[in-house]
Symmetry: C2
Subunit: 315 residues, 2 copies
């Protein structure tokens, strides 16, 4: 989450769709709960956890639950439990308009996994409708140079979804063509990316932060799906029939080749990775500590959550 969503909120295109042109969601309760569960007062809000994915449609939830469970089943013995305080695992504003969840599991010292970070937020927008962002990312440590993993779904209305899926490289692909070959050319990632080119509802998505664009691989999926004017349930169908299987296959590639594939990294290589990984994390936090997260959750919650992310990053 930390990588992308604040820039999404700053971006002119989605911003306008959030702030001005967000049509009230059409009623489809079986798929899409657009705000907090019922109109409970803040006092009555029941605790939620990351894997509940409370506020999103069933196919969106199924996808995220499948991602987390597939990753955890495969890596479980390598991961410590999530020990975040309960007010970070689930947080919400006093008004009850904004809810969020953060979930971090660090890797054991012997594991190549640095940490796994999951997050969701649900924010009622002033103009009706809700913003739902769900994400799961996994960062490897400098014992391997293999790519990280990222999936993120940003839904600003029932008919508008940004879908990001990537194995972000950890080396300059221009200088390391054999790395490009191993992780991108010799995998099915490019054909996974191409499957979305055939869907008429899909347009490319460009992050408004140029630095974020530089972090992606050449096979990254960064798309906007717009189903306005399509038949009822089309978005859920796309998530179930296209987004879910593609995400599952990409995660499988990452688990096989990156998290569980062996790579030799010498001391010079380790220093390079530590410098590059560290710079990315610092820049990412610098971009994150913009106005968006405080705007949605107020400075207190924003600072508390960002502090926890900062700690995980500086591990």
């Amino acid at each position: 989450m930390a990588v992308v969503f604040p820039r999404f909120l700053n971006s002119p295109l989605p911003h306008s769709s959030l702030a001005s042109s967000l049509a009230p969601p059409s009623p489809r309760p079986q798929f899409f709960a657009s705000s907090a569960p019922s109109s409970s007062s803040p006092m009555e809000i029941a605790p939620q956890k990351y894997t509940d994915f409370t506020f999103v449609s069933a196919p969106h939830r199924n996808l995220m639950v499948d991602m987390v469970s597939t990753m955890e089943n495969r890596l479980d013995s390598q991961l410590k439990p999530c020990t975040l305080p309960s007010d970070i695992q689930y947080y919400y504003t006093p008004s009850g308009n904004s809810h969020g969840s953060l979930y971090i599991r660090s890797g054991h010292t012997s594991s190549p996994v640095d940490f796994v970070l999951g997050s969701w937020i649900n924010c009622k927008m002033p103009t009706e409708g809700a913003l739902n962002i769900t994400s799961l990312s996994a960062y490897l440590n400098a014992s391997t140079d293999a790519p990280n993993f990222l999936i993120e779904l940003i839904q600003s209305s029932p008919t508008s979804l940004v879908f990001l899926l990537d194995l972000p490289p950890r080396k300059d692909l221009v200088l390391y063509p054999e790395y490009l070959n191993t992780f991108y050319e010799n995998t099915r990632l490019e054909s996974l990316r191409q499957t979305f080119e055939k869907l008429p509802e899909v347009q490319p998505y460009y992050s408004s932060a140029l630095y974020i664009r530089c972090l992606t691989s050449p096979t990254s999926i960064m798309i906007q799906i717009n189903t306005e004017g399509s038949r009822e349930g089309r978005m859920e169908e796309i998530i179930k029939d296209h987004v879910h299987p593609v995400a599952k296959e990409a995660l499988g590639i990452w688990l096989d080749r990156c998290a569980c594939g062996h790579r030799n990294v010498d001391e010079e290589g380790k220093a390079y990775l530590e410098k590059r990984d560290g710079l990315i994390k610092n820049k990412t936090i610098e971009i994150d500590i913009g106005s968006s997260f405080p705007r949605l959750f107020g400075p207190d919650i924003a600072n508390r959550v960002l502090e926890v992310i900062r700690e995980a990053y500086n591990g």
Copy 2:
């Protein structure tokens, strides 16, 4: 040229449009000469030079002539004359079906310009119609780390054009965010890119070579323009009203900030640039010496032209 076109020819999408679904060009002689000037036998072919851009539409030719003359007017005192042999400055197959031109001007020792490379090819396709590629690129040497310049137009039919325009970075933008800031965030390149998002005829273009995708900046323009079904002359209108002014402004940015802007590069920086520039050139040639150029011109011409490009690249 050397960077992209062979991969374009290998790419499934354009390949199919060339090899199977290329409709005969509709007659619009005022704009688009789809093959060699008249049906002259090889013996009668009049010599052409790079700046003639003989085979393309008037707006396409005007754009390329403007690019070359703007670059040469500004950099003229820094550039040596083109001394390529005449059979490289203009070459064609015995059948007269394929024509090409190469143009190289090296920079003087005191100049930050390594060399300027211009190229065009015109190839009759077996299924009727012609492929026209025109390009101009400028490479800087290691006395500066500023980006290079590239413009390329690949027209496979009167209604189908791939347009590539970029200031390809010479450093890993993830590791050098201040470089990203100087050349990309603090210029109008991103808003130039965005102008094409508004045109309904425009789709993103993905090179089939992942390595080529890695060479581009986050503000690169890599688009396919398809005007099939649009009114007569729409492609020429897009070239004149959109492609030309955007390309001109990007070239202005490159001339002001890159070719003529001063940058301090220390010895370590020079070694990094030489390594990275050299690797890009070698990989590019490796990708180029595929089957496409020999397929279009035969091995003899292909080898002769590629040998000259190799010499320019290795300085």
